[in-house]
């Protein structure tokens, strides 16, 4: 080794470059992980195809443009599920294990600030969601989906939904043990899949239960998306409000209680 090779020359890389590198690595780790792909890609795709093709649960098919198909009811729900699988379940499990294996701790000693790490995680979640939504809408169109409504409202719902689910996922990952997070995140995914208006319309539940379930972030997101995409609503304020409350509570609690080690 030539003398001087290790001569100190410290310095942080420019912030945008650090965040981009971190987001790229996080996304790569996610796409490389089989269980994560099952959760974020395989399950939503299978549910969309299966429930559109086979009339397992009878769903309202009337759309803003007249009589539609099952896929018109299902696609908004599956998009909500995709957001939940990435922002909540996937992020909670991945972050829980990063915390457990000292990854968060080690990155904490790097030049990347903690908020930069969180920004990178958010970016990685958004990139993954874009890929999921591209795939799922392509499949939905192939199944004869005809969406309506205001694209801006859809975007707003997706962003607020992502914020709400990220807050809850990070809260879980930053406070529970990794194994507990793994179990709980999967359980919650399953329960909300059934009870959150994703594939089963909420009005199949008894009145009181239906009202309570309607306040869940997954119900607000799937219901809001359905109001716009199926029924052509312009701005589903109620659902946006519910998501905003969850986002504030979840992100606030995560910021307060998250433990890095």
């Amino acid at each position: 080794m030539i003398a001087g090779t290790y001569a100190p020359k410290p310095g942080a890389a420019p912030l945008p470059r650090m965040i981009a590198a971190q987001a790229a690595l996080e996304t790569k780790m996610l796409l490389r992980n089989g269980e994560q792909l099952l959760l974020t890609v395989v399950i939503p795709t299978l549910l969309l195809v299966l429930f559109s093709a086979v009339d397992i649960v009878s769903v309202p098919t009337k759309t803003a443009g007249g009589e539609g198909k099952a896929v018109d009811f299902l696609t908004p729900g599956i998009l909500a599920l995709a957001v939940m699988s990435t922002a909540f379940t996937g992020q909670a499990i991945a972050t829980g294990f990063e915390r457990r294996y000292g990854v968060l701790k080690r990155l904490g000693a790097s030049p990347l600030p903690r908020w930069g790490l969180m920004a990178a995680k958010t970016l990685s979640v958004l990139v993954t969601e874009v890929l999921q939504i591209a795939l799922l809408t392509a499949i939905a169109f192939a199944l004869g989906w005809s969406p309506h409504g205001n694209p801006l409202a859809v975007l707003l719902l997706l962003v607020l939904g992502t914020a709400a689910f990220s807050g809850l996922g990070l809260l879980m990952a930053g406070t529970l043990k990794a194994e507990a997070t793994l179990a709980a995140a999967n359980l919650v995914f399953l329960l909300l899949l059934v009870g959150g208006g994703v594939i089963v319309p909420l009005d199949k539940f008894p009145g009181g239960v239906e009202a309570a379930l309607g306040l869940l972030p997954i119900s607000a997101l799937s219901d809001g998306l359905r109001d716009v995409l199926q029924d052509g609503a312009s701005m589903p304020w109620g659902d946006l409000g519910i998501l905003a409350v969850w986002a504030v509570l979840g992100l606030g609690a995560a910021a307060r209680f998250f433990r890095w080690e």
């Binding site: 080794m1 003398a3 001087g4 090779t5 290790y6 001569a7 100190p8 020359k9 410290p10 310095g11 942080a12 890389a13 470059r17 650090m18 590198a21 971190q22 690595l25 790569k28 780790m29 490389r32 992980n33 294990f97 990063e98 294996y101 000292g102 990854v103 701790k105 080690r106 904490g108 000693a109 790097s110 030049p111 990347l112 600030p113 080690e261």
Partner: protein, 308 residues
């Protein structure tokens, strides 16, 4: 360099609940030197190092690292230090080269990653992900991650734990090159030979306090007594030999013809013994000097019982 210090800790205290892990510790670390922190399991080495790295806020006392407060001025400090944790720190699904390249990207002027990979033998990891790497490969990756950003000060918490002899030597050689190029290194180890081999300075910590400081030579010289042995005719006049020696010495015939002198064994003592032998017509066969190793000193200072 030389007389400035990279770490200054005064009266450092760190508690975990009711357990006091670091208990009024004072430590000053010279710039440009390799400093080894030794101590039994649970002595507080990792806690001390992690306090320097800004992970733990001290419950009492003052700490400055490169002149900065490691917690309040963390943003300024982090790019200037390199950190190797006692374990972990890598995505379980990441490959060695991928993780190292990533850490390099977080720095403005990183080392040549390929050269570092080759030097530490990480090319043998191939496409294997971190969770399936051998313990030694994981250690070497963590070491590479600590130096890749070209820091001024490197903290290595047990860098050679679980390494084979070749990898240990590769680590030593890297540490020596870091020092040659002006990087200050603070490392912990349970291998006393490693501290003797590598360190300019040693600090021995026990129960959260520094109980001994100095160069390895200073520590071995002080503390425990050293001994000199030789064989000669049985029945030599030990009392006469003792009279010739300095007052703090002892001499005895252990078995017929086997003699032991203990005390401060230095060149004067050796000369005294050989000239006494010359006067008495004794050929001191197999004369040998046993200097204490750092391990003897360590055991003497920290006791022989097992620690939690």
């Amino acid at each position: 360099m030389g007389n400035e210090s990279v770490v200054q800790a005064v009266g450092l205290v760190k508690r975990y609940g009711t357990k006091t892990a670091v208990d009024g510790l004072d430590l000053e670390v010279r710039a440009g030197a390799v400093t080894a922190v030794l101590g039994p399991n649970g002595a507080g080495k990792t806690t001390t190092i992690e306090t320097c790295e800004g992970y733990r806020r001290p419950d009492a006392g003052e700490i400055r690292v490169l002149g900065l407060d490691p917690v309040r001025q963390a943003a300024a400090l982090r790019p200037r230090i390199g950190v190797m944790l006692q374990s972990g720190g890598v995505y379980s699904g990441a490959r060695a080269d991928e993780m190292l390249r990533h850490v390099a990207k977080l720095h403005a002027h990183p080392l040549d990653v390929d050269a570092l990979i080759e030097r530490l033998g990480l090319d043998s990891c191939g496409r294997t992900t971190y969770r399936r790497l051998s313990g030694g490969q994981q250690q070497r990756l963590a070491l590479a991650m600590a130096v890749v950003g070209r820091p001024e000060l490197v903290f290595l918490d047990e860098p050679t734990a679980g390494l084979d002899p070749q990898a240990r030597r590769a680590t030593w050689s890297l540490v020596r090159d870091l020092r040659r190029d002006g990087v200050s290194v603070i490392l912990t180890t349970h291998h006393m030979d490693e501290a003797e081999e590598l360190a300019d300075d040693v600090a021995i910590i026990d129960a959260g306090k520094v109980i001994a400081r100095g160069t390895p030579e200073e520590l071995c010289r002080g503390g425990a007594e050293n001994t000199l042995r030789f064989t000669g005719r049985p029945g030599l006049d030990v009392a006469s030999l003792l009279k010739a020696l300095p007052p703090d010495s002892a001499a005895a015939e252990l078995t017929p013809g086997a003699y032991r002198v203990s005390g401060t064994v230095d060149p004067q003592l050796l000369a005294t013994v050989t000239s006494w032998c010359a006067q008495h017509g004794v050929m001191p066969d197999r004369i040998s000097v046993e200097r204490h190793t750092l391990e003897d000193v360590f055991l003497e200072l920290t006791g022989k019982e097992l620690r939690g």
